[in-house]
């Protein structure tokens, strides 16, 4: 009897081990892919930096990798990325925060049940569609307000990118605010506070690190966004801090070269790996920061 039982358990154990290995392999695929990407980026970037000194890459103020007189100043592309991301955040942070406060503190359960899926739907719209929305709808509109605005500009692309990020910021911020314990809200109401006072003075500061994480994850999405910028902000490298100009971002440049007919192995082609590595480091820093803040927030309660 007991021997029978033991063998039964052993067979179950084997089955569990097999399932465990399958699950482990599935996890391994995604980790291995990430490592593979990093490996290729670093390896190809090393080839690039053997020909272009890192110092030039960081300090040169021109980006003309395809000219005879080639310059490789990443700051030119970085300025486009930073300006468009800045515009996007100027839209997404206030709007996303307000939506989060509304959904978490004011909306009825019914309104929330309706609004949350709609928000999530919004974040599922393909970014190419946002890109055309910026180019064909928002830019003409802005041109009426700002005369002389070029057809490709960072402002229009940035605003639409901000709209794209709003659901993201709103959803994570709302989660953070809802995670603030009810006992804190009750404490505030018991002191005679109104809903708005409770939301702004107790719930918002209570969720601050979670909300900051939402902002930072929003930034890393803006920095990595490609299609909207490639379509609406132009492909012309331009060192500028003015959102009403046209400029290429790191991502737009990578698209341009990757789709172009540069021979593999040429320095011009190699640039996309250096640019890609820069982009990845940038988003990595923001993601790590965001997750650190999220974790800190969880520990608080």
């Amino acid at each position: 009897m007991s021997a029978n039982r033991l063998s039964h358990r052993a067979s179950r154990h084997v089955k569990e081990r097999i399932i465990e290995s399958i699950l482990f392999l599935a996890a391994l695929v995604s980790v291995a892919t990430t490592l593979g990407i990093v490996y290729i980026l670093v390896k190809e970037s090393v080839v690039f930096f053997n020909q272009v000194p890192l110092w030039d890459f960081l300090t040169d103020t021109q980006w003309t990798p395809l000219f005879d007189d080639a310059h490789f100043g990443i700051i030119v592309l970085l300025s486009g990325t930073l300006v468009s991301s800045g515009v996007a955040l100027a839209v997404a942070i206030p709007l996303g925060t307000l939506i989060a406060i509304y959904l978490s503190e004011f909306a009825s359960a019914r309104a929330r049940e309706f609004a949350k899926p709609v928000l999530e739907l919004l974040s599922g719209v393909p970014t190419i569609i946002y890109g055309y929305f910026a180019l064909l709808f928002l830019t003409p509109l802005l041109q009426k307000l700002i005369p002389g605005l070029p057809g490709f500009n960072l402002l229009s692309a940035g605003i639409v990118m901000g709209i794209m990020i709003v659901p993201y910021v709103a959803s994570i911020s709302e989660d953070a605010m809802r995670a603030v314990p009810m006992s804190l809200r009750e404490g505030s109401y018991a002191m005679g506070a109104t809903r708005l006072q409770t939301a702004l003075k107790v719930v918002f500061p209570g969720a601050l690190s979670g909300i900051a994480a939402a902002y930072i994850l929003g930034i890393s999405r803006a920095v990595g966004e490609t299609m909207i910028l490639a379509v609406a902000a132009g492909m012309q490298p331009n060192l500028t801090w003015n959102p009403t100009e046209s400029a290429a971002t790191i991502t737009a440049f990578i698209v341009q070269v990757a789709l172009g007919d540069l021979p593999h192995g040429s320095v011009g082609y190699q640039t996309i790996f250096a640019a890609g590595l820069t982009l990845m480091l940038l988003t990595l820093v923001f993601n790590v920061l965001g997750h650190m803040m999220r974790r800190r927030f969880r520990e608080q309660y």
Binding site: P181, S183, L184, R185, E186, G187, S188, Y189, A190, M191, G192, A193, T194, Q197, K201, V202, P205, G206, L208, Q300
Partner: protein, 263 residues
């Protein structure tokens, strides 16, 4: 307890519950409660879990209004103005301006010690630094916390110990000079030493404020209260002077609970 007990009719009333029913949706949690709350006395609510003592307490500052589906019937009149604070025309925020509450688990706000105590004043529109400083110090002294925190008022409140946090919550509740202070099992999350200091505090505070305290700890009720109400499944079974209730309860059910044979 040696002092002679005054006649109940001569004691000033602070509040009076009359024919109070309360419903969570369809579930009736309080049934026809009639009970006086005497001014500047400590009244303890005791009874087994689910008897409605916390539900009753939370009627006083209309906390049930925060959740949909809750319904009050009957009244709690607040003296001296003799207004039914449960009336639909009465703004719950105005009620909460006059009554403060201390919760089961310390719930300091994610703010500094100073801002926690100043919260109620700021909510009431008081922003003058000098007034805030004066009131915060006074409240912290009244909550026997001043000496421990006077040099670290700008520290976050989370850094305090559990017992200190609860005294901070008491200071927060006192800063607005409430007429009634509601305690909902204020020591259930605290160790015995912190509990003793809170109990001592409650005994001192009755000089200045009417106190209503829910407790599951009968010794605590016996130690801190003047009056005790024993509740069971939504009904008030017995109310009276605490030593009467504990020494010679009239109702056999009360006696069974107090002597530990039940509950």
């Amino acid at each position: 307890m040696a002092e002679p007990k005054p006649d109940l009719d001569t004691l000033p009333l602070k509040a009076q519950a009359s024919a109070l029913d309360f419903y969570y949706g369809d579930f009736q949690a309080l049934k026809k409660i009639d009970m006086p709350i005497y001014e500047k006395r400590v009244t303890a609510l005791i009874g087994p879990s689910g008897c409605g003592k916390s539900t009753f307490l939370r009627c006083f500052n209309r906390m049930h209004d925060l959740y949909p589906g809750n319904r009050y019937v009957g009244e709690i009149s607040l003296h001296p103005d003799n207004v039914n604070l449960l009336d639909k025309s009465v703004d719950p925020i105005e009620v909460r301006m006059r009554l403060s509450m201390v919760f089961q688990k310390p719930n300091p706000f994610p703010k500094t010690i100073f801002e926690n105590v100043a919260y109620g004043l700021r909510v009431r529109g008081v922003n003058r630094r000098a007034i805030l400083e004066e009131k915060v110090e006074e409240a912290l002294r009244a909550a026997a916390l001043w000496n421990e925190v006077k040099d670290r008022l700008q520290d976050m409140a989370f850094n305090l110990s559990g017992g200190q946090q609860q005294r901070l919550c008491i200071a927060r509740a006192l800063a607005t000079e409430p007429e009634i202070l509601l305690f909902d099992e204020p020591t259930s999350a605290l160790d015995p030493i912190a509990t003793a200091s809170i109990e001592e505090l409650i005994t001192e505070l009755k000089q200045r404020v009417t106190i209503l305290i829910v407790t599951h700890n009968m010794q605590q009720a016996a130690r801190v209260s003047d009056f005790t109400a024993y509740m069971y499944i939504g009904e008030l079974v017995e109310f009276g002077w605490t030593d009467d209730i504990f020494i010679k309860p009239k109702n056999p059910q009360t006696e069974a609970y107090i002597t530990g044979r039940f509950g």
